[in-house]
């Protein structure tokens, strides 16, 4: 029955949402900065994949490996150069500042790539896979798997690596971390770098599925917001859970109320969670 199909759509979409939101949630959780450029970073990642594939014939899977360090570096520099000045500033300043930066980034992309929609069409198209009555496009499936791998990688980095532990320490208690000899400024830069890298890689994956244009950055940002609040701030598993919940809810919601209500549903959910459960589904005041 097609309910299975809707569930499958919801799950695949949910994993993509998780990948979109994980980096955003990390930056918001650790730096307490809402990065409105997150959507544009994702679109930039898509352009990278498109340019690499159409220009140099490099397949998106390889571009993925290149995108991670590239965006990490870009994010690191942007944080040290610009955002570090306003880290302690009230939310008003940081939110408006990233809004201004996003205007610049979006306009630059518009000039560089023109506004027409670009499409990354794999030469041997991956086609679709039928599992019983459920039909799933292979490109989305592969993108979903990579998305999960990426999110898991971020989770492991935060858990196992030195810089990851430092990021968590800063998130839990900035002053205590400083006393432990953690160089907070470079940790902020690292966290922002990881956030940007996640966005860039998500962009590469999304290039396979959606048309690429600077104008879809707001759509990605909207999803990142909802998933991040749903799942719980700064929590990677929270992002995965939030993504899945949103993906499934949107799929079934669109069926029940009609597709044009999907946006209303997601933002309505956002408000409800902000008011009644700001720490999200599984997020805690601390870290997960």
């Amino acid at each position: 029955m097609f309910l299975l199909q809707i569930l499958a759509n919801g799950i695949v979409l949910g994993c993509l949402y998780a990948c979109i939101a994980a980096g955003f949630s990390l930056v918001w959780g650790v730096l307490n900065v809402i990065n409105l450029m997150h959507g544009s970073f994702i679109v930039l990642g898509s352009y990278l994949a498109w340019a690499a594939y159409n220009g140099l014939g490099i397949s998106p899977w390889i571009t993925l490996l290149v995108a991670a360090p590239l965006f990490y570096g870009a994010g690191w520099l942007m944080q040290r150069g610009v955002l570090n000045r306003v880290i302690a500033a009230p939310v008003l300043v940081t939110l408006t500042l990233t809004f201004g930066l996003d205007l610049m980034l979006n306009n630059a992309m518009l000039l560089a790539f023109k506004a027409d929609y670009r499409k990354l069409i794999l030469d041997p198209p991956l086609g679709t896979l039928a599992l019983g009555s459920v039909v799933v496009p292979v490109d989305r499936l592969v993108a979903m798997l990579f998305a999960l791998v990426l999110t898991a990688a971020l989770y492991l980095i935060l858990r196992k690596s030195r810089v990851g532990r430092a990021i968590i320490a800063v998130r839990l208690d900035r002053d205590a971390a400083t006393l432990m000899g953690v160089h907070v400024k470079s940790i902020y830069a690292a966290a922002f770098g990881f956030g940007a890298a996640m966005a860039g890689c998500a962009g590469v994956l999304l290039a396979l599925i959606f048309p690429i244009s600077p104008l879809s950055s707001t759509a990605y940002l909207g999803k990142a917001f909802v998933v991040c609040v749903l799942g719980g701030l700064g929590s990677v598993p929270g992002a995965v859970l939030g993504g899945l919940v949103l993906g499934i809810l949107e799929s079934f919601g669109a069926m029940a109320f009609g597709p044009e209500h999907a946006v209303t549903l997601s933002f309505g959910l956002l408000i409800l969670f902000l008011i009644f459960r700001p720490q999200g589904l599984i997020g805690r005041r601390g870290f997960d």
Partner: protein, 314 residues
């Protein structure tokens, strides 16, 4: 120069603006109307953002609500006065109700929730097709002003200008009132304010409502003025961000700063838009970044710093 003198100077300047219809052509009047509209938004936002210290991104929601509430009444034959009254009361009541729930949040959470309110309202306007025309937009009939474009442009300019005066009157009185004093307490230390008897929930909701009522009325005037509105235009996120940039440009916290910031912002935006076809959005972004990084206290402090005097204005 004390605050009182500076406020009087600025209100005087606004009064002078009334002469624009005599001297300006329809385009100058259009710019003047936009300037007054931006000023109403910036001054109103300052009540919740500057005075109470709650970073509201709901200005677009109030503007869109006013545009559609007033627009629907006008398209069904209602008078302009009735439409203004309707959108004003709707915004005030809506803000009070919403405020009780929304204002329990603080900082980022409040900012994001207020941002989401505009998104939800826009989608509701988009889907309630039979009431609002949905994605097909709403026709608002040409108001019965006889006379050519100059007369109509002057009419709407003076209407928006009068709304600005009303807003300034209320907000300047508020600034010196007990409510204004209480809001300052809340901004500086809300728990201390609680302990000395300030009813923070009520005061914050009142501030949120006042920050919405005149913006909604401006939305109605806007709808009557352009005769055709679509949800994405009147619920545009820029209507939430620009007033904040104007308040920051003018110097956060003071009504005069917001007013000055609004006119300065319009001048910059118009110059940038007029002279560069391709990169004006980018330049607007650059303005915001430069402003926030190098001039956090806005033009008011700029003037003071340029004079190098230690005058304790504001």
């Amino acid at each position: 120069m004390t605050t009182g003198a500076r406020n009087a100077l600025l209100v005087g300047a606004v009064l002078l603006l009334a002469a624009l219809p005599l001297v300006g052509d329809t385009y100058a009047l259009r710019l003047g109307t936009f300037a007054c509209m931006y000023a109403v938004m910036a001054v109103s936002w300052n009540v919740i953002g500057g005075m109470a210290g709650y970073p509201s991104f709901a200005t677009a929601a109030f503007f869109g609500l006013g545009a559609y509430a007033g627009g629907v009444l006008l398209s069904k034959g209602g008078g302009l006065a009735g439409a203004l009254l309707l959108s004003g009361t709707l915004a005030f009541a809506g803000a009070m109700l919403l405020g009780v729930v929304l204002l329990r949040l603080r900082g980022h959470y409040f900012a994001v929730a207020s941002l989401a309110v505009a998104e939800v309202l826009r989608e509701l306007a988009n889907t309630a097709t039979d009431l609002t025309g949905g994605g097909m937009g709403l026709n608002i009939p040409l108001a019965a002003t006889s006379g050519g474009p100059q007369a109509e442009a002057s009419f709407y300019f003076l209407l928006m200008w009068a709304l600005l005066l009303l807003t300034l009157g209320v907000v300047l009185a508020l600034e010196r009132s007990r409510l204004g004093f209480g809001l300052q307490c809340i901004r500086q230390n809300e728990s201390a304010a609680d302990m000395i008897g300030v009813n923070a929930t009520l005061y914050k909701s009142l501030a949120f409502a006042i920050s919405g009522v005149f913006v909604a009325m401006a939305g109605t005037v806007y709808a009557a003025w352009v005769h055709y509105i679509e949800p994405p235009d009147v619920f545009d996120i820029l209507f939430s961000v620009k007033p904040i940039v104007m308040a920051l440009l003018g110097g956060l916290g003071s009504t005069a700063g917001a007013l000055l910031g609004a006119f300065a912002f319009l001048a910059i935006e118009e110059t940038v838009w007029r002279n560069s076809l391709e990169i004006h959005t980018g330049l607007l972004g650059l303005l915001i970044v430069v402003l926030l990084l190098f001039l956090p206290n806005g033009i008011v402090s700029l003037a003071r710093r340029l004079r190098g005097s230690g005058a304790s204005g504001g």
